[in-house]
Symmetry: D2
Subunit: 441 residues, 4 copies
């Protein structure tokens, strides 16, 4: 299969449901970067290289020079929020970025005012939005969102739009009949089926507007058959779910390393302290439970106990999140890993990560927006598993286990880029270097 | 190219120059494992799986069930040492394994007595061996080693032998004329060229005896043109150098993770405390310098500053090794990593590894012995770069940069195994799963 | 007041309710020490020195050489437990001490069989004892305990006995009317008042048998007016409560240091992981609550927010205990302390304590037994506040705040010893050294 | 003896040799505090309380309300430096305080310009001062300093002056004949004896000007018989040496806690990383040696191996300082402490202190200045051992061992204040509370 990628002409609109800490950090960052005030560190699309061809060719272009991505200067931001604060006010409240950095881009940030959100308090108990759409049915809400998208596109002279969900985690739900087919889903929209979450209405509106949708929270959202089918039918890509940052990022780096060496793991205790609103919400055992399920699954897949019962069959994995106001947005994690090696001798690894949640999430939003736009222009539709790299719980085809190992995720991403650009895939085999050596001798 | 791998029939002799802490830990371990007293944890050949075919095929055999390796019960150990202690005595001195574990295999360990070593005090100032070969020339010493190998093979009824160097690090040296060709090297052996290190004499004797040679220390040894040429000429594989354990293992796990996410690194401070003889030797600034060079290079390659000056151009990397007797063989490392993300915001990672040096090294010795024997039977000669996975400073073809990222090293190893067994290489592309999905819908 | 201390003649019986991990560790330890197999490390009475007189006198005797304590060889152990395992079996179950250490004292440990315990399931939900006394009233149970004590004394030819409570923490209770006077308490024993806990029956029986009682758990036990009055009336000392070990020990060391320097503290996050039965019990939020109250109070007193609102008024203190089986009895704590200094600049201290719970508790049991016996012979009755040093929640006179600073507690203990032995109290003033200096010049 | 303390009337001048990071942090801090912009956290004189009388009296005044100290608003700063930068410029260079804090006090800081320093390159190899006094003899330099002091006093209308040494550490030296008597010393000044260090010339000039002198560096300075004798003769107090901050502060907090409980210590490994000029200087092995001696002595005294050979006889103590530019002035320490308890069972404590050097030192300078002025007005002369609390290597009378335990140092300080104010010394005995209890019952 050969890919005909349409060029990235004109403005790209990035629309974000949820203009809180993460969204304002990415928006302010992009504006600061446009002005040359800062660097897009942590963004693979902007600062990452990719090896092409054989090692001896020494071809390592920047990814943005290799694949035809939208340029930073072509990006326009917009979004929805249940509060009416503009992005400058919201960024000041979030206290992630220093006022000194926000000052020179104040005008740009103040100009971004949230559109009225689709909101349902039964899905997020602890929020009380005021900047909220009113309509008789969920179908009507979807139409309103489609009009918002159309209007934004026109107002900002965009040729394309993508949506990245950065709003709060919705309550835990499972698939029901209404999620199974496009028809059932559309009927549900019209008769206000309670199992259709706000995030699903956004996803539906996006796809119907020809807009790719990526999901940064652990909600189902696009991970239901109806939306998958719609994305295939309309040829619009989808991806999810839950941005991979902080402790889980670290875990999907270290665990593959231990597994690579066939080292056993008896216990992994993960503690987090954080003092932002996220921490307060997750201090509640019920809310934490949803997050916990997602966080625990990571090790289960990487350290496959079924396949290696002697190494991982006894693994005791525990994750705790502790609300601790003195740290604010500066999440800190402490991991104790009990491993064993040759003949069962025990060792310990302790990792203390003094991290910043929104700083790690922001470049993920940018990368996903740019890659989803690329996929769209390349004619790739349905689930974009090659973007697993960015997610805590990657969405995959129904029969596939998600891949959590960040290094396999990276190869998948890079080989996908090589593939769509017609370059050789890299297998790291490299035996040929030594066969040539024979001849040379 | 198709591989005709000879079967692993008969006994495999593993000969080890240097029967100290690492060697006795691997020997005692293998004997304990043969008796069902312990598990070969940390050994990829014994406990690691390999995925074959597509994910949906669910084929994940153990490596030892996939490639025709020598069985544990077919292994016979021997070796050389400058001290005449048998392996039981030496293991007791090393204090790595508990006496309770050594007791039931005492007879087997006592039976292994070191052959007289080739030793040159000018290469290891702080040792004074007594169990040492005397001969007029280095050529004669090589002949004596070849006789040792022959005798050992006969006495133990071995069909094949491999050698893994586990002796002390020799002093720092660089290539000279004598190392450039087989002819020059053989002349040097005969006229006692001082630039030929003892480890090189072992390597020469090994190859001439049709015995693969792997080097666990940072000495040059097989990493010189003469030995590389000889290995090609005689069709015997070689590999090196410096077993990758402890802090460096951790570093080649974590650094690729940071680079994967395009996170910047401003500083990496690595401190080690250890109280064994290795620690005492490395407490000396001169000896440490050799080790330091090897340890520092790891980050330089993974965090390529030339390619990413904004992310890694300012990296300050410092490694300290501190002799600290209270910890004995239980090496402990503490790393402080200063990273920065989106817009340059700073974060810190601190890793405290309470590790055990010989426990991490022992399974590497076993794996290298078995894989070198496999390579030999498969007709692979010269440098075995696919075994980079096990080395701190992997030996490569002259024009190639070594690959330090442990995950790329693992893929290289696994794809090599798939390749020689005629299985498809794995690229993690996986777009086909989604194309099938289209048809299925 | 001058003290007439009766000599420590004859055997001293130490009776312990609760022959679990802590009790068996102290008993096995004392037996091993008697045989010269180990040292009583951590015991102030056995290994601690005390300065006497002026610094220039250089008098630093061992405490055991300064005050007339019972000798180790005069100690005889006994106790009660709801299980009938002898001390050897119980020590093997506890897995605190290595089998190799228990072997040479097996006979001594097997000889100690628990007497039937006074037990009430409503006070410890998760235990199901079988070795339990049956009687119509709590009064009868008290009489039975008094007979046990008498019998033990006779059987073992003891001149004195002391009791140290090492059993499980009872459920949280508060003082009621039955605890207010001796009369009310004795009536309650007779009519089975449910507010009289098993530990109180032990305490009552002890005092009536002229036996000092120290309480190692956070239960009220001797911390009620009725028992205090009885101890004064009968001239028998009491002390409590909750042995100070592990994280709290560390906290009462570090917090006074920060307060000494007037450094501010904004947050103190304390996490514990442990895998013994104690950990399992405390993983339950309800049981943990009792412990939490006791653990939190420590900082409140040392970092007095009322007195220093600018430094400690915002202190956020959180303690978490996490059940983590891989660690067994090896409790591990991790503390993050957010401090601030000059002009409010912030700093952090992180303390990782890889500790052993029973190993830290055992010498406390020994010291308390010996000091309580000393106090008894010295005619000291009522609450022994000078033993605060050993307790997490020291029992004091009704109007006094407990002193948690371990260094003030140590001075109190040492000056009490000096006081009863007629030595000068030490104030560390020391100006006289410099006045003498003047004359000398 | 009764103390007649002269009132703290009029301005107090604080003169500082060395207007670098520490000095500018204290000066800027005091100016900010005067304006109500910040708090003097870490200063015992300003924010510390002292208990008076019995616990039941509840008397805990602030120290500054208890003893007649100079008020903050009466303080005037001045100093000498080898560079001519004013205090604002020097503070900006030091990068300890944020520009935002320095802005509102810029005028005050710019007004403080360093007087020309007495400097001798042979004592500090790595500095090249330009703002330096020229004179034929050291005697003349002393006279010049005395004129500086006199002029400063007049210009600033001060009634009293104190000097606190904050300049760089001078090279290691030992006492010689010239340091033994006042006469020899004065002769040495006149004939330029090379053994008289610049800091000694400052000290001599101070005492001759009736100005107390405290030494914040490890140089001998006032710790020589000649200066001690002069301080007694002229009735001017002296104190030293080496401000106690960071890792050593932590060590003198934790070690007494371990010793209190008679816990053994087998090893203490202390590593530091810092990136300021101090770190660069101490990265040199020769300069570090001087510091090392001082740092090691702390544990030797607290964990007295002579008195407790079983607990501390095997203690291996190692201190490393590593230059690590990424951290700047934010010194970070990592300690691994190997302890053992009951029966020799081993445990570990790991302390990671993310500290700020100058922030911890600044309040010490303020406290010493105020307490030295108090001592002077109280007629206390010679060595002020009661200020040991602030020093890494406290200066004492010739026959006395210094006291390093920070808690004994604090009691000494507090009891000295109580003593000179006619209050009862506190012994923490407290038995009387319980005797009263008897009567009350």
């Amino acid at each position: 299969m050969e890919y005909q990628i349409k060029p990235a002409q004109g403005k790209l609109g990035i629309l974000i449901p949820g203009l809180g800490a993460v969204a304002t950090t990415v928006i302010a960052g992009v504006e600061a970067i446009k002005k040359g005030l800062a660097q897009p560190v942590g963004s693979l699309t902007q600062m990452g290289n990719i090896r092409l061809g054989k090692r001896t060719e020494n071809r390592y272009p920047l990814i943005k020079d290799f694949v035809p991505l939208a340029g930073m200067e072509e990006i326009v931001f917009g979004g929805w929020d249940v509060y009416s604060d503009n992005v400058y006010q919201s960024a000041m409240n979030a206290k992630v970025l220093e006022p000194g950095l926000l000052e020179p881009i104040k005008a740009e940030l103040e100009a971004i005012k949230p559109m009225k959100a689709v909101f349902d308090k039964s899905y997020v108990k602890n929020l009380d939005g005021t900047n909220v759409k009113e309509a008789a049915t969920k179908w009507d809400l979807a139409q309103a969102l489609m009009q918002d998208i159309e209007q934004f596109k026109k107002d900002n002279n965009c040729t394309r739009v993508v949506i990245v969900w950065c709003a709060s985690t919705e309550k835990y739900t499972e698939e029901t009949a209404v999620h199974q087919t496009i028809e059932a889903f559309e009927a549900g929209l019209k008769n206000n089926d309670p199992n259709i979450a706000p995030s699903m209405i956004y996803a539906y509106a996006a796809l119907k507007s020809n807009v790719p949708f990526a999901n940064g929270a652990p909600n189902l959202t696009v991970d239901i058959p109806a939306i998958v089918a719609l994305s295939k039918e309309l040829n619009v890509p989808i991806a999810g779910k839950d941005f991979k940052t902080g402790q889980t990022l670290m875990k999907t780096i270290v665990a593959p390393g231990l597994a690579a060496r066939a080292l056993g793991v008896r216990g992994w205790f993960s503690s987090n302290i954080l003092g932002n609103r996220d921490g307060l919400v997750l201090d509640d055992p019920e809310n934490f439970k949803t997050k916990e399920v997602s966080k625990l699954s990571v090790l289960e897949e990487i350290l496959n106990a079924d396949m290696n019962p002697e190494l991982y069959g006894e693994l005791y994995h525990k994750v705790r999140i502790n609300y601790y106001p003195p740290h604010g947005d500066n999440k800190e994690s402490w991991d104790n890993i009990d491993i064993f090696g040759w003949l069962g001798y025990q060792m310990q690894i302790k990792i203390n990560f003094l991290c910043r949640d929104s700083i790690l999430a922001a470049p993920i939003v940018l990368d996903l927006a740019l890659f989803m736009d690329l996929a769209h222009r390349a004619g790739m539709d349905g689930i974009q598993e090659w973007l697993s790299f960015y997610f805590k719980a990657p969405q995959t085809a129904p029969d596939l286990k998600p891949e959590h190992d960040i290094f396999k995720q990276l190869i998948k991403l890079q080989n996908t880029l090589r593939h769509i650009m017609g370059e050789d895939l890299i297998t790291h085999l490299g035996l040929d270097y030594y066969q040539e050596l024979v001849e040379a001798l």
